[in-house]
Every structure is written in C-alpha cells, then in structure tokens.
C-alpha cells in the first residue's frame, strides 16, 4: 500500500488541531496508510513571502528529512502546499526535494485527482459558503478562475456536492481574495481587515451559516473578523465538513 505523510502546517497544529484531526480521520476512513512525522514544524512560507527566502534553508532540510520517504504528502492547506511545490529546495538533498515538489498535495486535490473519490458518505445539513483561497485556486488550480476564458470546474464543489444535506450558497464575488496573505495581514493591517470584512459580508448577505475552504489561514482571518462582529457565522475547514456525520 502506498504511504501517505500527513503535513500539518504550524498554525493548524497550534490553533486548529480539529482541521488536522479531520484530515487524518478522513484519509484513514478512505483506507490509507497515514503517518504524521512528528519532527515537522512549518513549510517556511511566512519567511519566504516576507522576502526572507534565504533564511528557509534549515526549514526546508527539516521538511525533506521528515517527508522524503513517503509516496504522497497531503496537507489541509493549499497555501503551504503551493509554497512547497514552488519553492522547496535544499543544498544537501535536492533530488529528494525535487521528488517532494511533485508528490505533495493539498487535501481536496488529493481526494479528487488521486483518489478520485465519488461517494464520501458525509452529512452536514447547513448552508455553507465556499471561500476560494487564492493560492488554492489560482496556484493549485482547484477551481477555474473568473478572470480566465475557460470552462468552469471546481474540485472543492465536486466534493461538497457529495455531502448530504449541505446547501452551497452563491456569492456575489466568487473568487475575491479575503486579505489574509500571510504577513500581509499585519503589515497592511488596514487594507487586510477591510478585505476580510467585505469577504465575510458577501457570505453573510447570501445566508451562509458556515464559511468553509481548503485553507485554514484564510478562515482564521475571517473568523477573527466574524468574532469581532459577534456574528453567528462560523468557519470550518473543508476536511471537517467532508468528515462530518
């Protein structure tokens, strides 16, 4: 059996363990041999996107040491996966790093493209808004982008359609950025918050009870705004919905 290495990004590990747990359980339910290498920390993206890619050497090496042995590496975070795909390099073990860049998958991508899941047996009787995280959508091509003239498809929607009782709401702006953007959320606090408020409002106006997505970081940002507004709308990582019921 092929072996899956579970990559749980630092902020999911520290703040949203439930998203990690749901990912683990879902993959187990689907009959996979899943392992969480306990020596992992972070993909290094916060440093790289801040212009400090030159500091990520040790972090990258650690990633390679933890994950080189697996057939697939799967993670509930599109943005971290994209970072690994585009930027994982090491001095010591470049062949392994190169291999990892091609076998690392975001969870939705893995479920749809590799496992080709058709029947999830999940249940979540709620109105849900789907947040397209930019790195997942435009970077990993999880969903067709509104800017391009090309046929529509959506991998997360394909999965959410398999969830019993779930009603996906429409949004006015289908794929606008929420304004998280890694360290952007603090360096550009004013604009980031305004973007988050607008994104949340679109979901609220269209009747969402939950906002979901394939990137916990965007959801963390929107959750911060929702809580500050005392809103009833909650955020849930897509793994938690696909694993529900």
């Amino acid at each position: 059996m092929k072996r899956v290495g579970l990559f749980i990004p630092c902020y999911v590990d520290q703040f949203y363990p439930n998203a990690g747990i749901a990912t683990y359980q879902l993959l187990k339910k689907l009959g996979l041999d899943v392992t969480y290498p306990t020596g992992q920390t972070c993909c290094g993206q916060p440093m790289a996107n801040s212009g400090f890619e030159h500091l990520t050497g040790d972090c990258n090496q650690l990633f390679v040491d933890n994950f080189a042995e697996f057939d697939y590496i799967v993670s509930p975070s599109g943005s971290c996966v994209l970072h690994i795909k585009e930027h994982l390099h090491t001095e010591k073990s470049e062949p392994q790093a190169a291999a990892i860049r091609t076998k690392v998958y975001e969870l939705v991508e893995f479920l749809v493209d590799i496992l080709q899941v058709k029947n999830l047996k999940a249940k979540f009787p709620h109105k849900v808004g789907l947040h397209q995280s930019c790195h997942g959508q435009r970077g990993l091509l999880l969903t067709q982008m509104s800017e391009l003239v090309a046929p529509y498809f959506s991998k997360p929607q394909q999965l959410l359609a398999q969830v019993e009782g779930l009603e996906l709401i429409n949004l006015k702006r289908e794929d606008e950025c929420c304004g998280f953007g890694g360290t952007f959320c603090v360096v550009e606090e004013a604009v980031s918050v305004k973007m988050g408020k607008d994104r949340v409002k679109d979901h609220q106006a269209n009747g969402a009870e939950y906002i979901t997505g394939a990137d916990m970081s965007c959801l963390m940002h929107m959750e911060g705004i929702l809580k500050r507004e005392n809103s009833n709308v909650k955020v849930l990582h897509i793994a938690e919905i696909l694993n529900a019921g």
């Binding site: 703040f15 920390t41 500091l55």
Partner: protein, 457 residues
C-alpha cells in the same frame, strides 16, 4: 535615493478612515472589472489572443535594439524628427528645447503616463510654461493639483460632487453642480478653447510600429487628435518598450487593450500618426529612463511588456481598497509595484509587499506578465539589499530559529502558541496589529501533534 514620506500601509490606513469612500472606490472599479470579464468572455479566442500578444511583446523585447533602429529609420524618412532621451531629465529638457525654439509658452497635452513618470508638467511649469491636460480625467486631477491615481482612469478616486466643486472654482460652473452631463459639457467648452489657442500639442504613444515608422495613440475623447491636428508642433513621447514589430500585430493589441481597460470592444479613437501635416512639425521622443536596466534583470524583464491597460489595478483587491495615491508612484497598482523598485529600491521598498499575491493581476493581464511572481521576487531582492526594518529582520530570525528545530518549536508552542505572537512582528511593539480589528483564534487545549501522540502513537 530617498525614503518616502509615508508608506503604502500608512497611506492606505488614512484612505480607509472613510469606509464609505473605500466601498464606493472598490465597487466602481469592480464594476469595470466585470465589464472587462463580460467583454473578454464574449471572445472565445481570448486566451489565444493573450498568448499571441505576450509572444509578440517577447519578440519585440528580445530584438528591441534592432526594431528601434528600424523604427527610427522609417520615422525619419517619413519626416518625423526623432530624439533619444536616456532619462526623465533629458526627456523634459528635449521637450522644453522644442518649445523654446518655437517660442511657445503654452502646451496642450493628451494623456501620457510617461510624462507623469518624468514629472514633465512640474518641470515645464518651473520654467514658466503653462501646461493644460486635455484628457478630462487628467484635467480634473490637474485642477485639483493632484497626480492621477490610475493609469486609465486618472480621477477614479474623485466623486462627481467633488468634481463639481472643482469646476465651480476653476471653470465657473454653478455651485453644487454634480450632473456628469453638465460637467462634461463645461469641460468640453473649456478644452475646445484650449485646443484652438495652443500652438503645441503633446501626446503619448500606445504603439510604435517598427515596420512603418508610424505610431498609434488610443483615446476615448479624441483629444489627442484634436490637439495634434490643430497645433503647429506635435510632440509625441514614448518609452522605448512601446515598439511592436509589424503593422499586422496591431490588431491583436487593439482588440485586447480596450476590452482589458474598460470592457469596450475598441477605444473610440485609435489614431495613426505617420508624418507631419502640411506646415506642421512632428517630434518623437524615445525615452529609456531605467528601461534598459530592467531589460537586463531577467526576473523582471517581462514587466516591460505592459501596454498600460490598467486591468491589473481594477482587479487588484488591494488597489481597490487602497486608492492609487497610496502607491506614491506615477504608476500605481500591481504593475506599478513591480516597475517602481527598478527606479529606486529604497523609496519603493514597501510596494512589492502591498499585495496578498492572490494572482488575479497575472490572470487579467492581456500580455500575460507574471506580476505576482515578480512581486514575490522583488521582496527577496529588497530584503537582500537591506531594506527590511530591523524589527522584521529580528522576528524572521526568531521564526527561523523556532522553525528549524522541532524541539524548540514544540516548547515555544506550549509556551504560548507562538505563531501569532511572532507573525505580527510584535517584537518592538505593544500594539498587536492582528488584534486591532480582529479577534485572536481560541487557544485549543492541545496541538495536533499532542493529539496524535496520545491517540495514534
């Protein structure tokens, strides 16, 4: 080199004090982005066109020297007087000399971002000349003594009521007028008078054709033609990257330009200038101003493919909520943020960070510039060259130390769920920017790692 008085985050924080205005700015530009989408989606071969345009521009840049030489040859043969300017200063001096030679003290100007980049108006005014911008939007910001905030829609940050006030003050329109029809009419009368009395007209250049030595100017108001045809002297200014090889390539760009910019099928006037009219003098100034340096930077060369349609600004969620002036550079928005650091790394060190790297800009760009990838790359260059703040450097070192060792990472996590503690660069700062308008995530009783240890292994 100089450090900006205020940075993008600071300037956009000020802009965001008035949330109503931000909403209005965002929605107006989003409306244009939607018009662009509709227009693009009505052309099944849109993506093929973008690819073609991108390849033509790549070809033009790869053989730029050759095309420029052939362009000059043809232009001279057509009777155009050609000038070369190494930088902004030289460009301004050339324009000034031409005017001086003819003893002309007033210049009517149609839209040209290049002259904004070179600060021509300021320069000429200092020499005692009068410059009147004839593009309506440009004229409005000129009256307001502001720079344009958008390359296609220079006064998009102004509401019609504010324009009414300006026209009341400068053009004698009745106080409180905000009807766009009346305001446009007033501007038209004012500008018509200008056209009839000025002896020199300056225009920009959208495309210069190497094969024929002609150049094309696209406007919606016809003001470039009006100025150029009525004046004795026509001066056209262009960046050297405006060259396209052949006339047949023009169609590709004209189909893309207006659709990307405003959603129109084509700009109202696409005027070809090939030789001076009878009794007229036609000058063309070819300007480098940092472009050959950018050509030499492989990672950033593609930024020179830009045809200045403004689509990347309209789609940019950050631009829509910052306003163009927050970019404190002649060209704002995503493309401005990758062009500006070429000219002054220190002054524009903040701009490549004014993006979430969402990638929408690269997707709308009609010539397929990898804008968001270049933003990422500029960040690396800016940090390597030492323009990061010391607080940021410190927090990145701590982050690196923590993340490079699983042991340290776990202890730090237990000690206080470190992520938000360090990401906000709160090291030198009691004020946590995350918390200002957002709640912190609830701290779970255990990390995923701890759960896994207990429940799986």
């Amino acid at each position: 080199m100089s450090i900006p008085a205020k940075t993008h985050p600071e300037l956009s924080e000020v802009f965001n004090k008035d949330e109503e205005r931000v909403n209005w700015h965002d929605e107006t530009l989003w409306w244009i982005r939607q018009k662009r989408d509709k227009s693009a989606h009505s052309i099944p071969e849109w993506e093929i066109l973008r690819e073609k345009a991108s390849q033509i521009k790549n070809n033009a840049l790869s053989n730029l020297a050759e095309y420029l030489v052939s362009f000059e040859e043809k232009a001279l043969a057509n009777g155009i007087i050609v000038h070369w300017a190494a930088d902004a200063q030289e460009h301004n001096q050339i324009v000034h000399q031409i005017l001086k030679k003819h003893d002309i003290r007033q210049l009517v100007k149609s839209k040209s971002m290049l002259t904004e980049e070179c600060h021509l108006n300021e320069y000429l005014e200092k020499q005692g000349l009068e410059v009147i911008d004839s593009d309506l939007g440009e004229r409005i910001v000129q009256l307001a003594k502001e720079p344009p905030s958008h390359i296609v829609l220079p006064c998009i940050h102004k509401k019609k009521e504010e324009i009414g006030d300006l026209f009341h003050e400068h053009l004698g329109v009745a106080a409180g007028t905000s009807d766009p029809q009346i305001l446009t009419e007033a501007a038209r009368v004012h500008l018509r008078e200008t056209f009839l009395t000025r002896k020199a007209a300056l225009t920009g250049v959208n495309f210069a054709i190497a094969e024929t030595g002609e150049f094309v100017v696209c406007t919606n108001e016809g003001n470039a033609d009006m100025g150029a045809h009525l004046a004795d002297v026509h001066i056209a200014c262009m960046g050297i990257e405006k060259i396209i090889p052949k006339r047949k390539h023009l169609g590709v760009f004209l189909r893309l330009l207006a659709r990307s910019a405003t959603g129109q099928p084509i700009t109202t006037y696409s005027s070809h200038f090939k030789k001076p009219g009878a009794g007229q003098e036609m000058h063309l100034v070819l300007v480098d101003n940092g472009r050959t340096i950018q050509m030499g930077r492989e990672d950033f060369r593609a930024s020179l493919k830009c045809i200045r349609c403004g689509a990347c600004m309209n789609t940019c969620p950050v631009y829509r909520r910052s306003g163009g002036h927050s970019y404190h550079s002649a060209i704002s928005g995503p493309i401005g943020a990758i062009l500006a650091p070429n000219l002054d790394r220190e002054k524009y060190a903040d701009l490549p960070f004014a993006s979430t790297l969402c990638g929408s800009c690269s997707n709308v760009c009609p010539v397929k510039i990898d804008i968001h990838q270049q933003l990422y790359k500029w960040r690396q260059v800016i940090v390597q060259e030492g323009y990061a703040t010391s607080a940021k450097k410190m927090s990145m070192k701590i982050m690196n130390y923590t993340l490079s060792s699983p042991g340290v990472y776990k202890t730090a996590g237990k000690a206080g769920r470190w992520v938000l503690k360090y990401i906000p660069f709160a090291v030198n700062n009691h004020f946590n920017p995350w918390y200002k308008q957002r709640d912190m995530p609830e701290v779970p009783k255990e990390s995923f790692g701890e759960w896994y240890k207990k429940n799986v292994k």
